[in-house]
Symmetry: C2
Subunit: 454 residues, 2 copies
């Protein structure tokens, strides 16, 4: 058996081969290469290609595989490729899809197309998808698949084994069969490994785990992800408020939620949408980035208007102008460190009512400590550079004030934003930088005006 | 069966109850509460508590459970708690641990303690852990557990079923049994669900998947995570260069890698270590943040020395000083957006030789487009505010230059850093901000000097 070291080098090689074949117009060859790849590998290659290459590749992909490939792609790319497909192609592609992905594809379609696709589906698929569409996005319901295998509590293992052999293949990532009563109320679960290792004469009720934890269908998807992470689950049953089994969530979908949540924090803090496609079209990307840039322009003008208040001082002392960017810059970095820590803590669910005051106190203390250290350093640096003790003391004092404020603001801004139901990952950085810029300039220019102009 | 909605509210409640019981000194009550919780819930509560509470809680935790709890914790916290334990306690706690966690705990111990703990282990555990320690950290080997169940190809399903019943329980997250030959060379895999659904008289060779992909023991852990994500695996076998089965990696450990990698990018970009513990001690945290702050102080002084070159201009025109922070600020934000996108692309393995030139070109184009838009806006804003057409044109021109450079730098800096084997997530932000600050100030002050001082 060949050890398939499908690592980055190999992917690189494939990409290069594909690109060579494409640029020399060997489309039949490319089609052959694609046919030998798995859906997930093709998805990966599509995500690593510029827009034009993507469109060509997508036309060469085997139509049978297109549904599977769509399932593996990021949201932005999925939307792009869906827009290239006819309703008939879409309907065919969606035939074998998991319920959750099917619902996603349909949600993203314009109304007329939506009806066309729904119309060209089988009655069974239509019923499945209409149910999935009834749950809100980002809820356990939207992550759920309905392909569960259920057992009754009053049979024995031997009967189940015979039933399973008759049934044939189990759905992907099945590790547990669910035990339900006549009204579909979830009673417990039996792991496949238990079925394999226990006595065939044992009753299902005696070997099932009655404590099996289930997920309410309305639970937000990030809480579902936390539960999976905390309990190392491979799959978990989803129930409604009365305990009826509705479906199950599997780890592969949860991994996507974890990845998306983490990316959301990272991209959000830099002022980017986490859906943004690395190789997406230029105009769309430029437009998407404008929200933060607009906000930042206002923030920068606000900072400039603070400087404007001290025009007299700046006119008289050019050195003050030269040094005035140092204090806001250090405050910004220190505040951002705290902000990142708190946003991560919020995302992991570690920060709540009971410990947020302690956390703010801790970050305030760190800000003050760092303020002491760096104000001493900058005092020394400026004193040596400009040979002016008073100037050093001025900038040192402003630094201490701004870094302490940065610690306080970095910890409290995301908590306040969360209370106001504003996403701290998206808005936190902008609000914080405005605070540290304004306070930093105020402190330095204000102190300078007080000392030097009197 | 109760639907355990272990969501954030419930955790909040528990934390509050625990804190109340602790502060009123009801330690026996706390011990009882802890005994009723699972290891993963206790780990979560420890991670959400300030240092002093943690120490008290850790002393009240059932010693039998301490190993399991340690397995669930972040690295920083694990180190803290390990330092509180005696070698005997540690040896007892490690008795039931997975090989990978055991190796982690031992790696973090000082030499003398390490030997003491190793000495108080059973011979079997010692052999297991010594093997695990021989693989480098952050490799597939360090993620691997050795608890695989193996089959021979020449038996039939019925024999396997009888063997499994005799054997009893299977290791956690077992979804596939591995087929090996006499020399332990991996031949393929049989899923539990296949064993349950196939004909009992079938031979293992005929039902096994001979194409089962395996992971080389030396593969870096982030590539392992990408493979799991791409192929929706629950577990995968690990082999050496000759194809001998060494162990298996399970999805729960991979989820930790995914989480850590994503956090690394996010925390790194803000100048934080991703190991940093949200509720860690103040002095240690303050110290850990100093690397970036030190670098930033140098960057800020460098920017100030750029302004210093234009002292004459600043002396004559205070308005220039007032406006000079706007250009670097916009360049910094635009550059950081690009940087975040590229760092994510590198982390996901989407960016390589074949597409990096395209990506840099795209980001340069976006930078230029955004530069045109925002230079027009800032030109208008400054013209209106200061009533000076030339000044508006000056700042607009500088903005166009700096935002174009920001697009180019944001895309190329992380790629260059990666080539130099420097972590782009950690160093990228700092290098980029220095570039956009220096170029921004140079462009604005330089243009101003050329136009206004001539």
């Amino acid at each position: 058996m060949p050890i398939e070291a499908l690592d980055q080098e190999l992917t690189e090689q494939r990409l290069t081969q594909l690109n060579q074949a494409l640029s020399s117009g060997m489309f039949v060859h490319v089609r052959d290469m694609l046919q030998r790849m798995t859906a997930s590998d093709i998805a990966f290659i599509l995500e690593s290609s510029p827009p034009r290459t993507r469109q060509v590749l997508w036309q060469l992909v085997d139509q049978e595989q297109s549904g599977e490939i769509l399932e593996e792609l990021g949201e932005d790319m999925k939307d792009q490729l869906i827009s290239l497909m006819s309703p008939e192609c879409l309907a065919r592609a969606t035939a074998g899809m998991d319920t959750d992905d099917l619902a996603y594809v349909l949600r993203s379609l314009p109304d007329t197309l939506y009806k066309q696709v729904l119309h060209s589906m089988s009655a069974q698929d239509r019923a499945r998808v209409e149910q999935a569409l009834s749950y809100p996005e980002d809820s356990a319901g939207s992550l759920m698949n309905t392909d569960t295998v259920t057992l009754r509590p009053d049979v024995n293992v031997d009967v189940v084994l015979r039933y399973l052999r008759q049934r044939g293949e189990l759905p992907e990532a099945t590790d547990t069969l669910y035990v339900v009563d006549r009204r579909d109320i979830l009673l417990g679960g039996v792991k496949l490994s238990t079925l394999l290792t226990c006595n065939p004469t044992a009753g299902i009720r005696s070997i099932m785990d009655p404590e099996l934890e289930s997920i309410p269908v309305t639970m937000p998807d990030n809480e579902v992800a936390q539960l999976f992470e905390r309990h190392d689950w491979v799959s978990a049953p989803v129930v409604d408020s009365e305990g009826h089994l509705l479906g199950r969530i599997t780890i592969d979908d949860v991994v996507d939620v974890i990845r998306e949540d983490a990316e959301h924090s990272m991209m959000g803090m830099a002022g980017m949408d986490d859906d943004e496609d690395t190789f997406g079209p230029v105009f769309k990307s430029a437009f998407r980035r404008s929200l933060w840039l607009t906000f930042n322009l206002f923030a920068a003008l606000l900072a400039a208007s603070v400087s404007n208040m001290f025009e007299g001082t700046l006119e008289k002392f050019a050195t003050i102008a030269i040094l005035m960017t140092i204090v806001p810059s250090m405050g910004g970095v220190a505040g951002n460190q705290t902000l990142a820590l708190v946003i991560r803590g919020i995302a992991l669910g570690h920060i709540g009512q009971s410990n947020s005051r302690w956390l703010i106190g801790k970050e305030l203390a760190i800000g003050f400590l760092n303020g002491l250290l760096w104000s001493a350093l900058v005092f020394t640096a400026v004193w040596i550079w400009k040979g002016d003790l008073a100037l050093g003391a001025l900038i040192g004092g402003a630094m201490l004030i701004n870094m302490t404020v940065a610690g306080l603001a970095g910890a409290s801004i995301p908590l306040i934003l969360k209370k106001l139901n504003v996403d701290p990952a998206l808005a936190g950085g902008m609000v914080l930088t405005t605070v540290t810029d304004v306070i930093g300039l105020f402190a330095f220019l204000g102190l300078a005006t007080l000392v030097l102009m009197s």
